[in-house]
Amino acid sequence: MGRAEPASDGAVVRAVLAGDVEQFAVLVRRYRDRYARYAAHMLGSADAAEDAVQDALIRAFDQLRQCREPDRFAGWFFLILRNRCFAERRRGSREARPLEEAQQVATSLDGPDGAVERTERRRALQRALLALTPEQREVFVLKHVEGLPYEEIAQRTGATVASLKMRMHRAYDRLRGELEEHR
């Protein structure tokens, strides 16, 4: 027995624009977790990531008429979430408790083998990540957490590969400095 193909993003977006608001739930289910890890690393905590993803989904609905390539909803939504994350970091509303946030993200990987040292290294790195600029942190997260090549990061963010590499190399040095400082 055949199984119905899931509707494409483009078809769902067009259905919502035509008035079928309930179809937006398809996009919510499809994208709620896809960029959650990116948001968590950008903002320093899973709670902050949840707020950001929720806001970005609502903003996507509000601005759906401006999504001029419905079949590329994923990239468009990523830009909304990215803007939200950058704005949040620039507001600095969460800067006051980076250590707590760093621990919150890092402890998610605590293993049964009691790898205390590894957990400490993760916390230290997450804390150091929060010391980067949003642009540096983003390229680091997209490449080393999400595993994207520079070319795809360039496509997503609109930056050139050369400028992304420059940001990344500065990020490496900054991370090294931060980790040495807190060793």
């Binding site: 977006v13 067009r14 624009l17 035509a18 008035g19 608001v21 309930e22 937006f24 739930a25 919510v28 289910r29 709620r32 977790d33 959650a36 890890r37 948001a39 968590a40 690393h41 899973a46 990531a49 949840e50 993803v53 929720q54 609502i58 609905f61 509000d62 008429r65 401006q66 999504c67 001029r68 390539e69 419905p70 468009w76 830009l79 909304i80 803007n83 890092a106 998610s108 990987l109 590894r118 290294r121 993760r122 230290a124 790195l125 997450q126 490449k143 080393h144 957490v145 609109g158 590499k165 990344m168 190399h169 490496y172 040095d173 900054r174 991370l175 090294r176 400095g177 980790l179 040495e180």
Partner: protein
């Protein structure tokens, strides 16, 4: 003072080199750099299952009606749109050279439609349906060398295959006429299926993501600008 990684070590971190590619004296630094990456937490982050309900509750509220009442709301709105008398004003952005052609068309339209038995002509590029206010708006783009030009906008759900422009001979001029309802419409031309071009003769707005959408506005009843 921050100690910088050696450029070759940075290339190692970028995945362009392996540890074995580094000179012997750089390998300890390379190992330190790789330990840094190994500490990275790449566990998937799962958000609360309640997030979906929270988003959809807000979406339904912003859509203006609960899901159960949506159909009746839309039907009522459609009926009000069809039945309410209204005036329509058209704002058209065209290239200067096109004005002559449009004026000639206006004269022709007036001659044809202006006879006593015909309804009075309202303009060269506008016509109004008998029950529903809408306007015919002509879009023009000069795109020499293009093989295909389409227009996508809020009026066709940004479908770049729905509305194609026709070439005016070999002049590089492409045109189409679209029926638009009163309101503000955002759009862009799509050249050869991949290049999005805002209308150079129309005002544009930032779409919030670094791109420009052109805007055509048709006034609401009573001439109130939208």
């Amino acid at each position: 003072m921050t100690r910088e990684f050696h450029p070759l070590v940075k290339r190692l971190l970028d995945g362009e080199l392996t540890l074995g590619d580094l000179p012997l004296e750089l390998r300890p630094e390379g190992e330190e750099a790789l330990r840094l990456l190994a500490a990275l937490d790449s566990t998937p982050v799962t958000l609360s299952p309640l997030l979906d309900a929270r988003v959809m509750a807000t979406v339904r509220r912003r859509a203006g009606s609960p899901a159960t009442a949506r159909e009746s709301f839309r039907a009522g709105r459609a009926w009000r749109w069809i039945s309410a008398p209204r005036d329509v004003e058209i704002r058209l952005r065209v290239r200067p050279w096109a004005v002559g052609a449009l004026a000639a068309a206006a004269v022709l339209a007036a001659l044809v439609l202006g006879r006593p038995s015909a309804p009075p002509a309202r303009g060269a590029i506008a016509a109004f349906g008998p029950t529903r206010p809408s306007a015919l708006v002509r879009f023009v783009l000069y795109a020499p060398g293009a093989h295909r030009v389409a227009i996508a906008g809020t009026f066709n759900q940004w479908n770049s295959d729905a509305t194609l422009l026709a070439p005016a001979g070999a002049t590089g001029v492409w045109t189409t006429t679209v029926t638009l309802a009163p309101g503000q419409h955002q759009y862009a031309f799509v050249v050869d299926g991949e290049r999005w071009v805002p209308d150079p003769a129309a005002p544009a707005v930032d779409d919030g993501f670094g791109r420009r959408n052109s805007v055509v506005a048709i006034a609401a009843p009573g001439g109130r600008a939208l």
